[in-house]
C-alpha cells in the first residue's frame, strides 16, 4: 500500500536526520504541528515589535534610536521568513493573520508584558532575545527544512539583539542612581516572564510527545530553560544586577543553577488573555490590519490593471 510506504520513507528520513522538504510526503499531524508552531513563532516576531516600538520616538540618543530601529526591523524580517516557511506547508499569510485575530493562533506570552521604561528595552534585548536565541539555536536542527533554514538565518541576527540589550543595561548600571534603579526594576519585572518563555516543565508539557518523536523539537523545555539561566546569571553579576530569585543557587553536583518556583498561575492567566497587554497588542494589530485594507486593495487593483495593460 502506497500510504504505508510514504510513512516509512518519512520515518526513515527523520531517523537519519535528513530534512523533510515542502514537496515531501508528511503525516497530517506533522504538518499541523508545524503550521501551529511556525505561525506562532512568526506572530511572536511581529507582535514583539510593539513593546519595543513603544520606545522608538523616545530613545534617548540618536545612536540608541538607530540601533532600536534596526533591531525592530530585523524582527519584522524574521516574521517574513517565518510566514514564508509556513506558506510552504500550504497556508497563506492572510489565513494565518486571520487565525491570530480570531484567537486560534497564539504568540509568545512574553509580549503581553508592558515596556514601561527605557531599561525595558535593555531587558527585552538581553533577556527576551537571550531566551529566544537558546530556543532558536536548538531549532536550527529541527526536522523541517524550510523552518530549519529560517532559524539559521535568524540566529545570525539574534546575537546582535542580545548584545545591544545587554549594552543598554550595562550602561545604565554604570550610570546614575536613577538609572541603576530603572535597570534593576526592569530586571525584576522581566526575569520570571523570560523563564516562562520556555513553556511548562517537561512533566506537564502537552505537545512534547510527537514533536520530539518527529524531531521538530530537539531539546526539552527544562533543558533549554536551564541553559538560559546558566548563561544569564553570570552576565547579570558582571554588571551588578541582582536576579530576583532568593532560591537561585549554584548546584555543584549538576554544575548549574537551581532556581525557585515559577508562578504557573500567572503563566496560565496571561495565556488565557489576562496579561497586562493582551488586549492592547491584539487590538493594535487588528486596527492596523483593518485600516490598511484600502491600501492592500489599491495595490492589488493597480497590479491587476498593469497585468491587463501588458497583455493588451
Amino acid at each position: 500500500m502506497e500510504h504505508i510506504d510514504h510513512l516509512k520513507v518519512f520515518e526513515t528520513k527523520i531517523e537519519q536526520d535528513i530534512n523533510i522538504e515542502a514537496k515531501d510526503w508528511m503525516p497530517d499531524d506533522y504538518r499541523k504541528h508545524l503550521i501551529r508552531q511556525i505561525s506562532q513563532h512568526a506572530h511572536s516576531e511581529v507582535i514583539g515589535m510593539q513593546p519595543e516600538g513603544n520606545w522608538i520616538t523616545r530613545a534617548p540618543s540618536l545612536r540608541a534610536k538607530k540601533i532600536l530601529l534596526a533591531k525592530i526591523q530585523d524582527e519584522g524580517g524574521h516574521g517574513l521568513y517565518l510566514y514564508s516557511a509556513a506558506e510552504t506547508l500550504g497556508i497563506g499569510r492572510d489565513e494565518l493573520i486571520q487565525q491570530l485575530h480570531d484567537g486560534k493562533a497564539k504568540y509568545s506570552n512574553i509580549f503581553n508584558y508592558p515596556s514601561l521604561t527605557w531599561a525595558d528595552i535593555g531587558a527585552i534585548g538581553w533577556l527576551v532575545d537571550g531566551a529566544a536565541i537558546v530556543n532558536q539555536v536548538s531549532l536550527q536542527r529541527t526536522s523541517y527544512g524550510p523552518y530549519s533554514r529560517a532559524m539559521v538565518r535568524i540566529c545570525k541576527e539574534e546575537s546582535f539583539h542580545q548584545r545591544q540589550g545587554y549594552e543598554i543595561m550595562a550602561k545604565m548600571m554604570a550610570g546614575t542612581a536613577a538609572q541603576r534603579e530603572m535597570a534593576q526594576d526592569a530586571m525584576n519585572r522581566w526575569w520570571w516572564p523570560a523563564l516562562m518563555m520556555f513553556g511548562p516543565h517537561d512533566t506537564d508539557s502537552p505537545h512534547t510527545g510527537n514533536a520530539v518523536k518527529w524531531k521538530i523539537k530537539r531539546q526539552s523545555n527544562d533543558t533549554l530553560r536551564q541553559k538560559f539561566i546558566d548563561k544569564t546569571v553570570q552576565q547579570a553579576e558582571v554588571i551588578g544586577l541582582t536576579i530576583p530569585d532568593p532560591d537561585l543557587k549554584w548546584n555543584e553536583e549538576k554544575k548549574s543553577y537551581d532556581h525557585g518556583e515559577i508562578n504557573w498561575n500567572e503563566f496560565r492567566e496571561v495565556i488565557n488573555g489576562n496579561g497586562p497587554c493582551n488586549r492592547q497588542r491584539m487590538s493594535n494589530h487588528i486596527k492596523a490590519h483593518e485600516e490598511g485594507e484600502w491600501v492592500r486593495k489599491a495595490a492589488s487593483a493597480y497590479s491587476n490593471k498593469q497585468k491587463l495593460r501588458v497583455s493588451q
Binding site: Q50, P60, I72, L80, M172, T176, N284, Y302
Partner: protein, 252 residues
C-alpha cells in the same frame, strides 16, 4: 552674518529635516498596512536618523561650543528647530505619509544632487551618501503615489486629498533667504528657489501617471526658516527629548 553663523544655520536646517521626518516615520512601527511596508517605513526612518546624526554632528563642530549631535537633537528648544513645516505634519493615513514623502524626497533629490558639488568637503561627502537613500525614498513614494492614485476609487480619492492637504507646505521648500544666498555665493549649497522648476515638472510627471491632479499654487505656509513651527513640533520634541530632559545627568 558671519560665515560660521550662516553655515551653522544651514547645517541645522539640513539636520532637522531628517531628524523630524525620521521621528514621524518611526511612529509607523506596527501600524502599517502590511508587514513589508512597516519595514520599508522604519527603514527610511533609520536612513533619516543616520543622516540627521552626521549632519548635526557637523553642526555641533561648526558651532564650536563643545556640544554633541545628541545635545543639538535632545536639548534644543522648539524655536531653535529649523526643519520644514512639511516634515512635522502628522502621519495621517498612509496616503498622507506618502504625499509628504513624495514632496520632500523629490525636493531632496534635487537639493542633494547639487550639494554633492559643495565646496564644503563634509557636506559634499554627506550628500554623496545621502543621495542613494533619497533616490530610494523617492522611488518608494512615487511608486505608491501611482499605485494609490491609479488603484481603486477610494485610494484615488484619499491620495488626491493628501496631495491637496499638504500642498500648502511645499512653498516653503523653495524659500530662499540671506543665508542661502551667502552659502550659494561661497559654493557651499544650492539656492532652493532654483530647484523649483525641476521639482514641479517631476511632480507633474508623477501625478499625471498617477491620474491625480496638481493643485493650484495657492496660499503657502511659512515660518520654519525662522524657527516658527506648527503646534505639532512641540509634541514631537516632548516625546523625543523626554529622557534627556528628565535625567539631565544620565548618559545612555
Amino acid at each position: 552674518m558671519t560665515h560660521q553663523e550662516a553655515l551653522l544655520t544651514l547645517t541645522l536646517r539640513l539636520g532637522d529635516d531628517p531628524l523630524i521626518l525620521g521621528h514621524r516615520l518611526g511612529e509607523w512601527c506596527s501600524k502599517a498596512p502590511i508587514l513589508e511596508e512597516d519595514l520599508a517605513l522604519t527603514n527610511m526612518a533609520l536612513d533619516l536618523i543616520g543622516r540627521a546624526e552626521v549632519i548635526l554632528r557637523y553642526a555641533a563642530e561648526v558651532e564650536g561650543k563643545g556640544q554633541t549631535e545628541d545635545d543639538l537633537a535632545y536639548r534644543r528648544g522648539e524655536r531653535r528647530f529649523y526643519n520644514h513645516l512639511l516634515v512635522e505634519q502628522p502621519n495621517g493615513n498612509f496616503a498622507n505619509t506618502i504625499a509628504r514623502q513624495l514632496f520632500i524626497s523629490a525636493y531632496e533629490s534635487f537639493y542633494y544632487t547639487e550639494l554633492m558639488n559643495s565646496k564644503d568637503a563634509t557636506l559634499s561627502a554627506i550628500a554623496h551618501k545621502a543621495i542613494k537613500e533619497i533616490k530610494y525614498h523617492l522611488k518608494h513614494a512615487s511608486d505608491w503615489t501611482i499605485r494609490l492614485g491609479d488603484g481603486t476609487e477610494e485610494s484615488h480619492h484619499k491620495m488626491q486629498e493628501a496631495i491637496n492637504e499638504l500642498w500648502m507646505y511645499t512653498g516653503e521648500l523653495f524659500e530662499t533667504d540671506d543665508i542661502d544666498e551667502q552659502m550659494s555665493e561661497s559654493g557651499i549649497a544650492p539656492l532652493p528657489a532654483e530647484l523649483f522648476g525641476k521639482w514641479k515638472s517631476l511632480m507633474i510627471d508623477i501625478l499625471s501617471e498617477a491620474k491625480l491632479s496638481l493643485p493650484d499654487e495657492g496660499f503657502m505656509q511659512t515660518g520654519s526658516r525662522q524657527g516658527v513651527h506648527t503646534e505639532y513640533l512641540g509634541y514631537i520634541l516632548a516625546d523625543m527629548q523626554y529622557l534627556q530632559r528628565a535625567y539631565p545627568d544620565a548618559k545612555w
